[in-house]
Symmetry: C2
Subunit: 423 residues, 2 copies
């Protein structure tokens, strides 16, 4: 039986869960894989973690280079997160021809091109299943299960914190700030939740999916990214009345103009399985050929769920030949301004004659046609919400039209503009 | 670049799709896998199929042994379905040390133990992704993605035909017979649909999942299997009013009594993602440790979707070391009579005083406690539907109680009894 010798850098929630699960399921894993996984060393900058590894009978060090430079280690598991010093550890380990297993989406989104090209040069493997959708075997499914397929569209709920917040806002008609506080108390949101709520974490994962599915590492700064901080419980209510849910959506669409990528809240019809993804769950819906439509759903975070992905990667990097998605011909990033979608628009407008005429005139001047309008209240002379759904229109026209409308004195800006994803 | 040489036996819808997709995505597959797949020969008993292969530039034969005995072929793809002669072809090919790729669930459910043990002896691989849930990379996900996990529960919608029928019955309040005819016209149901509607196809797939997840090939004849032919649109309506959907469910549950396996219609709460699986889609929900809850959803049948699974298997059997799930210690099949569930019971009973008393008395004598009762109509002296939900009770007590109740002259048998799966 072949033994895979590993070193783990970073003993946080995930690292500790990996250690415990490797121990608990040692026999199961050996039976299923014909591989024995041996944890040679675990490293953490916090020397108080030594106790954990000693209880589990594993050697501890505060020095990551005792793992990176260790000739007896085949696989380096990087679980410290963040960009520095993780970047250095990964690069040094690759130079030493170690396989890498990592859950670090921020690192891959920024330095993926360099990291994967170095791995290819050194003929070693990178396991990154845990970096997108934690426990869901999504990346494995795409690269192996769908090896003979083209992926045409991706719609993903890739961040548990924001899904939990939107779910709670919708269940109990609560406002964003209240739910965020609740989520922080329950440990579903970080103390500094900005990476999550501003959509940056989702963006990182979309970059990784873009590489895996299309062979392209996009420039993060060029991808339109909007978070959920401006979604109000009113919008969730009005969308619900129209039979839509609001979800923070990572989107990739191959159209004739190129590859459109976007992170933003979106309206999803309530009969679509994605709209039913509640609490802090993650889910990804793929439109593929010839496999058709697929949905993957599960836990996107948490030490124990994520440890399952890490362990699966440990076996895979040791067993399978290195895999590097290649850039597909004729794919280039398209400008999101040119993407056509239907839109939900919610104005706060003065309740007086002629208001709708003024709004419609501006929309018409940008060739935006209105599918439905509802004024939600009647309060003569006061400001009230008006909800509009548009027919398909280009993003740039929508933005310009709304900017124009927001300058009218009958409008209290900012107007809410959310794309409808007709999946 | 390594070349994998394959022969395909059976050129039906799936076989033809595999051929076309291998041709269309030749470059994509080579790029992703570093493998070249060469179709050496295709065989079908219908010589008129020669035209198809000739157009695609592939050699044709009517003799399966020109593939099985061919020393230049590494992988035999069996796509004829049914038990004979597929069994012989697979056994002969294994003896010749060929890898097998098959979509044949009936064959595996019946002869899986023999086939996999021969493959293990001959050190060759069996790819069977397409045998359960067609295009969904489910088996790959379980054996690789969840390699370090225990699976505690499986709930699967594994048959597209029955899901389509139940879905249409529910959408338009139609009766089983009407929808079956419609489904046959549209090609969603076979001319002889009995394997599907009686739950036998679902049973085959459950046996395969039982092997993959628990290492056990169960005796099919010992698994309680009920189809959808007795579900009426009334039951779907009443279940819907109670906020449940009715789905044909393959169930596996590891409890302290052992492994419970069952195929039967079941009530699923409408907020659960499985209840939203519409049309002819398949889906499987898993409860695992430590990966947590997972759901996989996609196309379960159709030539092109299924070809995606076959192609993925072709790469896998050629690249990966053979994989054979081992029987897990301490797992044995439990008797379904001892399984505890809540139940939906629908009586047709005479509308007169004392009816409920008689029914409840019998239920109470079997320790079955009632959670809710609704009489659906009032028509004095006539027979009207009564719907009951029970608290948890053992299956054997339910069956005995209902048998007793069905003998009352105030009851028009048979009473409908459907388990509620509290997922």
């Amino acid at each position: 039986m072949k033994t895979v010798k590993i070193g783990i850098i970073g003993l946080g929630t995930v690292g500790e869960a990996v250690l415990k699960m490797l121990l608990r399921y040692r026999n199961l894993i050996q039976k299923r894989s014909s591989l024995k996984i041996e944890v040679v060393k675990v490293c953490d900058k916090d020397k108080n973690k030594r106790g954990i590894t000693e209880r589990l009978g594993v050697s501890f060090s505060e020095d990551p280079f005792s793992i990176i430079d260790n000739p007896h280690i085949d696989v380096v598991v990087e679980l410290i997160g963040g960009i520095r010093p993780a970047y250095d550890y990964v690069i040094f380990a690759l130079r030493k021809k170690k396989h890498i297993v990592t859950a670090n989406k921020a690192l891959l989104a920024q330095y993926g091109a360099e990291i994967f090209s170095l791995a290819e040069k050194k003929k070693v493997n990178i396991g990154f299943e845990a970096s997108v959708c934690g426990a869901i075997p999504l990346l494995r499914s795409i690269k192996e299960g769908l090896i003979g397929c083209e992926i045409k569209k991706i719609y993903g709920i890739l961040n548990g914190t924001t899904n939990y917040i939107l779910y709670r806002m919708s269940e109990d008609s609560l406002e964003f700030r209240e739910v965020l506080k609740e989520a922080q108390k329950k440990g579903f949101a970080e103390k500094d939740p900005s990476l999550d709520i501003k959509g940056v974490d989702t963006l990182h994962k979309l970059c990784i999916l873009s590489y895996l599915c299309f062979g392209i590492w996009p420039d993060q700064s060029k991808i339109y990214t909007q978070g959920i901080q401006n979604i109000s419980s009113l919008d969730i209510l009005y969308a619900g009345e129209l039979f839509y849910s609001i979800k923070l959506m990572a989107m990739a669409r191959r159209e004739k103009e190129g590859l459109f990528l976007r992170v933003s809240p979106a309206l999803i019809r309530k009969t679509h399985p994605l709209s039913q993804v509640g609490s802090s769950f993650n889910a990804v819906w793929l439109d593929t050929y010839p496999a058709g439509e697929l949905l993957f759903y599960g836990r996107g975070a948490g030490g124990f769920p994520t440890s399952s992905a890490i362990i699966s990667d440990l076996i895979n990097v040791a067993e399978a030949p290195p895999f590097f998605p290649k850039e597909q011909k004729n794919i280039k990033l398209a400008k999101i301004e040119n993407l056509k979608s239907r839109y939900y628009i919610r104005f706060i407008a003065q309740d007086r004659p002629g208001v709708l005429a003024k709004i419609s005139k501006i929309l018409a001047s940008f060739r935006i046609s209105i599918a439905s309008v509802t004024q939600k209240e009647r309060r003569k002379g006061k400001f009230v919400p008006i909800v509009m759904l548009t027919h398909e229109a280009e993003e740039k026209d929508l933005r310009k039209a709304v900017a124009g409308i927001d300058k009218l004195d009958i409008i209290r800006p900012p107007t809410q503009l959310i794309p409808i994803e007709d999946i």
